[in-house]
Symmetry: C2
Subunit: 190 residues, 2 copies
């Protein structure tokens, strides 16, 4: 059974463990074994720093996984959770296939306009943020390195789903679409 690493900011929710269990049940419905960061048993008695042990356990899980599904929903700002982005990059570097979803349909430029006061510089045909720094305008979900890491290493663009704001970190519609895409991709290879 192929193993899928489940990356996303839902690990910071109060109900992180239940949500992980829901994700893992969905994985098994599609014939995969879900690996969720909270499955790591980190005992608080060890002398080593707990954050270092969490890191090592997550990296080991990523290395054990056959592929990944990343939740790239914006988190504490205009972009995705940086822990999830780090894991996405690591999986791409390790040559593992990555699928991803976001629970908003607004693209990066649209979200940047809500988050900051942008100005349009017609001479350079570019949007600038309040610091005078260019804002990417490619219609992508996030920084181009993120969108294209998924497209090149997963062979599918990031799935965009318009979740209810109250459910933005809990809605699993886009996640299930990724599972379906992964199952289809595997059946094509087999």
């Amino acid at each position: 059974m192929l193993k899928v690493y489940l990356a996303g900011p839902e690990v910071f929710l109060p109900e992180a463990i239940e949500l992980g269990a829901r994700k893992k049940r969905l994985c098994s419905e599609y014939g995969f074994e879900g690996l969720y960061p909270f499955d790591n048993e980190i005992s608080p008695t060890s002398e080593e720093r707990i954050d270092r042990r969490i890191y090592r356990a997550n990296e080991q899980m990523i290395r054990r996984a056959d592929f990944g599904i990343c939740n790239l929903t914006p988190f504490r700002g205009v972009s995705a959770d940086p822990g999830t982005v780090l894991e996405l990059g690591m999986m791409a570097g390790l040559g593992k296939r990555v699928f991803a979803y976001t629970n908003t349909v607004r693209n990066y430029l649209e979200r940047s306009k809500l988050h900051d006061t942008l100005t349009y510089e017609s001479s350079g045909n570019v949007w600038l943020d309040a610091d005078g720094m260019a804002v990417e305008d490619f219609g992508n979900v996030d920084n181009l390195m993120i969108d294209w890491a998924v497209a090149e290493h997963g062979a599918c663009p990031i799935v965009r789903h318009d979740a209810h704001p109250a459910e933005i970190y809990r809605d699993l519609t886009g996640f299930e679409t990724c599972l379906r895409l992964a199952a289809e991709a595997i059946s094509k290879i087999a």
Copy 2:
């Protein structure tokens, strides 16, 4: 001569090219060849999407590099530029050594308190953001996956430098410290 990939949000500055040239000159003073994303010649005449070509050129540069130096200064929110974080993860996944710096000495929890209204939940001994999601309190620069990817794959913690706010994306003090750490690390191996 060892090649170092130069990741950071300074690519979005109006003077991105000059800043890259400054970084590359510093690299050569330490005996390294700097690879800067803007060195890629992306001609706008090709039929392929420009963002995809930038991605591919950057990934090729990362694969050619012997190690990386990442600018993890907070960008458009509490965390580092997600493009830089993606590249950091990719280098770690590829087994390349990574060094990193940030131009603020405030840690993740301190910055989160400035960015959002946090509440302390004494029963769980945890800080929560306005969405009720846990905020990491390990004294780290950013999400633990970022700090420990650097510490484990670079063997040095993220360098913290207190830059003047107006120079936060231009100050190269922390960058030069990373070059010195890299030169020392290489001399130990050689």
